[in-house]
Symmetry: C2
Subunit: 214 residues, 2 copies
């Protein structure tokens, strides 16, 4: 992974990682990213879902969406994925922190026009959120595909930033009578709620059961 | 709350909200935002913690941080806060969605220089993550305050976008033998882990106990 001036982690450089394995692991553990681009000189930021396949991610949206109309011009974009794993409580206010894993990608958005790749991209995004759901549902028809735009973003210029572990206080503060430690933050799936309009006798499918087991 | 062309929700306009109460409630339920700004023509996006007080939010960082050096020039910035509440599984791939609450703010960053407001801003950010922790810890000294920059962002141009409830499928798809519903996503605090270097006999403080009860 190349680390240019844009991607090089400047603050707390010991927290910076540039290897594919670290970056892909963080990307594969989430499904929501924040996409930023420049529109008329202003920064625009939009949260959206994504799916990773090899060395790129796909995002999608409505054909008419402001973001995607902009992005298909190949403008530079920035993508961030962040998971928060804990609140780090130090003895000093200054050394309070978060445990987190974050990836930032700089790149140019590519409009996907090949129909096979467009369908594959939608399956990849679907699998990123809930694996194998794609095999259970009514797949997109021609009208829905026309209403959908797919954007591909290469993960060529990217960096990860990770903080783990207990607080790090100033040496003299360790003598203070102040509790310090980490409050872990967990994101969990709760019991599925069936659509009130669900027909009788339809059981919770394999994809959902598998997700609950994770 | 003013809704200009920049903040007006374009996609799924029924999901757009512009009133202060809705926007503040979403902001008060999180503590991590994504800040985007333009640097040398490129969009830069950085996750950071924030605190809301009345009609503005504060963010902070190292005096030398790339983001804050840029932001103090009063450049336009965009801030997004998003919480994900559920995976919405429809009968059709096309109508899969997420339940979420999201706020986007467009504005200009103001460097805070008044020392009283700077200290207050740090307390507000601290309270946003864990109320009353500020009263338990060793407060910032002069050296730490010098190393810290505070940025204030007015919540004057902002919008919220919210999706809740079950999937909405095409009429004819309701007859399909496909499970549909919502998998709720919950973010919870786990049992606090004491710093391995914590002195004996220091109990978990009130601020942490209160947070666990929420």
């Amino acid at each position: 992974m190349s680390a240019s001036d844009k991607t090089k982690v400047k603050r707390a450089p010991k927290r910076g990682f540039y290897d594919c394995e670290t970056i892909y692991n963080i990307l594969d553990n989430s499904f929501i990213c924040q996409v930023a681009f420049v529109h008329n000189g202003y920064p625009v930021i939009i949260p959206t879902i994504y799916g990773r396949k090899k060395d790129h991610i796909y995002i999608h949206g409505a054909t008419v969406s402001r973001m995607l109309v902009e992005l298909e011009k190949g403008f530079p974009i920035s993508v961030n994925v962040t998971e928060t794993n804990g609140i780090v409580l130090a003895r000093s206010a200054f050394h309070h922190s978060l445990n987190y894993k974050s990836v930032t990608i700089f790149g140019e958005a590519l409009l996907v026009t090949n129909e096979d790749e467009r369908i594959l991209a939608l399956k990849i995004i679907s699998d990123q959120i809930i694996p194998n759901r794609w095999e259970e549902v009514r797949l997109p028809n021609e009208k829905e595909m026309k209403a959908t735009k797919i954007i591909k973003i290469p993960i060529s210029e990217a960096s990860a930033k990770i903080r783990t572990g207990p607080p790090i206080d100033d040496k003299q503060d360790y003598d203070l009578q102040i509790w310090a430690g980490v409050i872990p933050i967990k994101t969990t799936m709760d019991i599925p709620i069936a659509d009130p309009l669900l027909k009788d006798g339809i059981l919770i499918p394999q994809s959902v059961n598998n997700l609950m087991k994770d």
